[in-house]
């Protein structure tokens, strides 16, 4: 007599698949074995989005022109409305362009102040928002339409501060690892500490663990944090954020939380500077 429901479930196939998946997962987490493949797929997806957007806009333009030919009288009325809309849009565009010029001028000023002419400005293509808001992987992709060769690990800045480093480039896109990414380490300093700050995996947050001393650490909250220049990748003494909290981590250590100055969700243009470096 059957003791259980008869099913056909070949354990061998599942076991092989399970171990194969586990092996792939381990090699990717530990050694980043498939990072180039993932980058290529992401870049291809971005391309597909851009192309489909172009096609959609082309189709909608064709339909609208066909419709316009049929209804010329209606078009006259619409054109009058369009003129009014264009006037309004033009006004907004002017303002927008003024802001863009201000941003570009700011970047130019920053470049001049850093006495470094080897800088290019790139527009953001996408940000992995789901991971940025919930998880540890904080990456953005920049558009590199002219396919300019960029150095791996070069510093990237946005707004008024550094924001991350180049991770890799795929097709015409540049992958940038943000400071808040769990795998990023940034040498920093403030009035009372030097340390390698690690990304917290939370938006705009990095942290470092320092030994407790006799100092009362709570008085240091709000202190400005700068790049220390250690490692030779980032310029020294660039403000990157401020100390927002100091928590006890263990008997001997405290965790210093640093809120970053630049918010990637508010930035459109990113600057990349410097030659190829060796480390992240």
């Amino acid at each position: 007599m059957a003791r259980s429901t008869p099913t056909y479930t070949p354990v061998r196939n599942y076991a092989i698949s399970f171990f194969l998946s586990a092996l792939l997962l381990f090699s990717d987490i530990s050694y980043g074995a498939f990072a180039p493949l993932r980058g290529f797929v992401t870049a291809s997806t971005l391309y597909a989005q851009m192309i489909s957007r172009g096609i959609f806009e082309g189709i909608s333009a064709t339909f609208s022109s066909f419709h316009a030919n049929k209804n010329l009288i209606q078009e006259n009325k619409e054109l009058k409305e369009q003129i009014l809309k264009i006037r309004t849009t033009d006004f907004i565009n002017k303002k927008d362009n003024q802001e863009k010029i201000q941003i570009i001028n700011f970047h130019k000023d920053l470049i001049n102040s850093l006495k470094n002419k080897d800088v290019a400005i790139y527009e953001i293509a996408s940000i992995d928002l789901r991971n940025y808001l919930c998880c540890s992987t904080h990456r953005i992709f920049l558009r590199n339409d002219e396919n300019v060769s960029v150095g791996k690990n070069s510093p990237v800045f946005a707004g008024e501060s550094f924001i991350g480093q180049i991770k890799d480039s795929y097709l015409n896109f540049i992958e940038v690892i943000l400071f808040s990414d769990f795998n990023h380490v940034l040498p920093i300093k403030s009035n009372f500490l030097y340390c390698d700050a690690k990304g917290k995996g939370k938006p705009m947050l990095i942290s470092c663990k320092v030994n407790k001393t006799n100092k009362n650490f709570n008085y240091q909250i709000g202190d400005t944090v700068y790049t220390s220049g250690l490692g030779g990748i980032f310029l020294k003494d660039i403000e990157i954020g401020f100390i927002s909290a100091i928590d006890s981590f263990s008997i001997d250590e405290v965790e210093v939380l640093i809120t970053l100055k630049a918010n990637p969700l508010e930035e459109t243009f990113y600057g990349i500077m410097g030659e190829e470096a060796d480390e992240i």
Partner: protein
């Protein structure tokens, strides 16, 4: 082939199933940035996959789970192997107890499938984002996914009956 006759499915049917799973993951990607502020993580992609295995166990075997997982990993994950691993494991469990599930009530089914999706979420956080691990997210996601699974079950069943 023993007690079950192995029935192969057309490639086009696999593509339809894969499309629904991709749609689910795309929904997750679109909605989760909004819902995560409310401590909710939706798992439409995973739930749709489990539905298909539950509905057609004789047609979806380990190779299908492996392939769907690989595509989901390539398009939506930060690591290769994670979805593959969970799709395989879940597929095996569903295959093992599929006839017992058939006599379960909708409530029991939704608890099981929502529990599976919560386990999936928990492992995702533990492996890929330990600093963001939150019991509140898991508990709320469990409750919401349990409710969503019932709706998803009826929608997917209607879709399956109209297609296959």
């Amino acid at each position: 082939m023993g007690l079950w006759v192995k029935k192969l499915m057309k490639f086009s049917n696999h593509l339809i199933i894969l499309s629904t799973i991709i749609l689910g993951f795309w929904l997750d990607d679109s909605l989760n940035p909004l819902t995560i502020k409310l401590f909710l993580e939706l798992n439409f992609g995973f739930l749709i996959f489990t539905y298909w295995v539950f509905a057609m166990p004789e047609k979806l075997h380990s190779s299908a789970a492996l392939f769907y997982g690989l595509v989901a990993d390539l398009l939506f994950s930060n690591v290769i192997g994670f979805n593959m691993l969970f799709f395989i494991a879940t597929s095996y469990i569903i295959h093992l107890y599929v006839f017992r599930f058939r006599i379960f009530s909708y409530f029991q089914l939704s608890v099981f499938f929502s529990g599976s999706s919560t386990f999936y979420t928990a492992c995702k956080y533990l492996l890929l984002s330990p600093y963001n691990y939150s019991y509140l997210v898991l508990i709320l996601s469990f409750l919401i996914n349990a409710v969503l699974w019932v709706g998803l079950y009826f929608i997917m069943r209607a879709f399956r009956r109209s297609i296959f």
